[in-house]
Amino acid sequence: MNRLVLFSLGFVTLAVLAHPASAAEKKSLGFIVVDYNLSTYETKYYEECPEGLAIGNDELWWRGLSPKDRDKLTNGGLIEPVDPPRRPTAALRGPNKEDVCWNPEIVKDPPLRIVKGKTGRGMNLDGTEDGDATAQSCKHEKFTSPDGKTKVDNQMYRILGCIYGWRRGNYMEAHPNRERRDSSQGIFLLHVTDVDDERNDPDVTVAFESTTDLLRKDPTGRILPWASYRVSDTPHYGATAKGKIVDGHLITEPVDARLPLYGNNVIGDMIYKGLRLDLDISKAGDGEVYEGMLAGYRDWDNWWDYIRKIEFLTVTGQWSCPAIYVASRELADGYPDPKTGECTAISEAMDIQALPAFVIPRAVKTAGAAP
């Protein structure tokens, strides 16, 4: 009997040595993320916005004029808020015609109308029960998600949730999603390695990568799953997080990361601290789309740089730079400045849609790869 066991063990050992990959081979998974939107909770009649939707820049500009100038500069209202020269002129409402998006402290607007509801979606980023200040966070109010998850941090939703353009499906995010689909810019990859079991695995690695490859689409424009994408050589992408798979949910630990930004004519990066992922890889929807959430602290300076660059959308989106500037400074809840105590980042959660893809790591050279 003992001899039989020893023989069997020896056979297995030999088999493993002969084929080292077969016994301990780790799988990798890949996803491409094109569409993402701020995680919000929206009711049909805006119960979460009891003060109404935010007041737009054009209204503030127009109200600030004398009645005669209102008529003259808009030709009695025939020049619409979106039309030139009204739209570019309206941004110059500083006392000396300064641009208020690039000088947001130069005028004092009415306070931004923000989300007042208790319901919101996202993750518990600061780890607290009640949003009290910690070494890594400023005091803030928490949300409870519609499915009962408590202690949710998502101050970006509190800031943007009552702005017409940021309501789900409206221009501020729908347009960048279309731009990314059309241009293949600003898309990012999730490269999951060290996978033993796609259903439950306590130890995997997730890299947040960028690619400059074009999206592969069918003749109708639908983005194809299972296409191959090479990881970009841009060194500041590729943040790597430890993660796990729990009942088909790919969950990562927090990691500081940059993601490529492309949308509303702005090219750049989205800089996050403590970014984490929860992607349900157990079931895909139509077109093999997997749904998930990315949440973390968006660096305020990085975010504000984007906001002031999209000032041409204050009419389409119905918002005002000075009001959003003040509100975002007040509601920032992450990473206090050690000197001032003012928080330098905003908690945020994004709903993402991911398609399965083959991710070709940097080290792998393909026949078609550019030199």
């Binding site: 003060e51 109404g52 054009d58 009645p67 209102r70 008529d71 009695g76 808020p81 007042k116």
Partner: protein
């Protein structure tokens, strides 16, 4: 003890409909004046417009007051979609020609019109013989429920 329990239950049951009703209603308000007309208008006329919307049946109820107009009211209506300083289409007549202040009424409105109201894209405009484009106007804004900090 039992009485206290029953009283608590009764209180809860009676509070439920009023809570639901509060959530299913919206109020809108506008201050009307000549200065809010898109076309330059000189008039001492002023007014207020108060609307109540029952979201369960989209019944829209209003009370409009006005004074110091240049002459009798010609038209009084809600317009949209338009932000301040822009012109919308008339979508709800609020009074008949010659009506005097205060004007009260109600009508059912559509889901699309409710959305325009909630966006802040509607206004009330009052015309007179001297000012056929409008003598006083006011943009409708959501009036927050009581207890909501502004």
């Amino acid at each position: 003890m039992v009485r206290l329990f029953l009283r608590t239950v009764l209180l809860f049951i009676t509070a439920l409909p009023s809570l639901a009703a509060a959530q299913g209603q919206r109020d809108f308000h506008a201050v009307m004046a000549a200065e809010w007309e898109t076309k330059y208008t000189e008039s001492p006329g002023v007014g207020t417009a108060d609307f109540h919307l029952d979201l369960s049946n989209l019944k829209f109820t209003w009370t409009i007051t006005f004074k110091d107009l240049s002459g009798p009211l010609e038209t009084l209506a809600v317009y949209g979609p338009a932000q301040p300083g822009a012109n919308g289409a008339k979508f709800l007549e609020l009074a008949t020609k010659g009506a005097t202040s205060p004007v009260r009424g109600s009508a059912a409105i559509t889901e699309a019109q409710v959305q325009y109201l909630l966006y802040g894209w509607t206004y009330v405009n009052l015309t007179t013989g001297k000012f056929p484009w409008g003598e006083i106007r006011g943009q409708l804004d959501v009036r927050p429920p009581e207890g909501t900090s502004k």
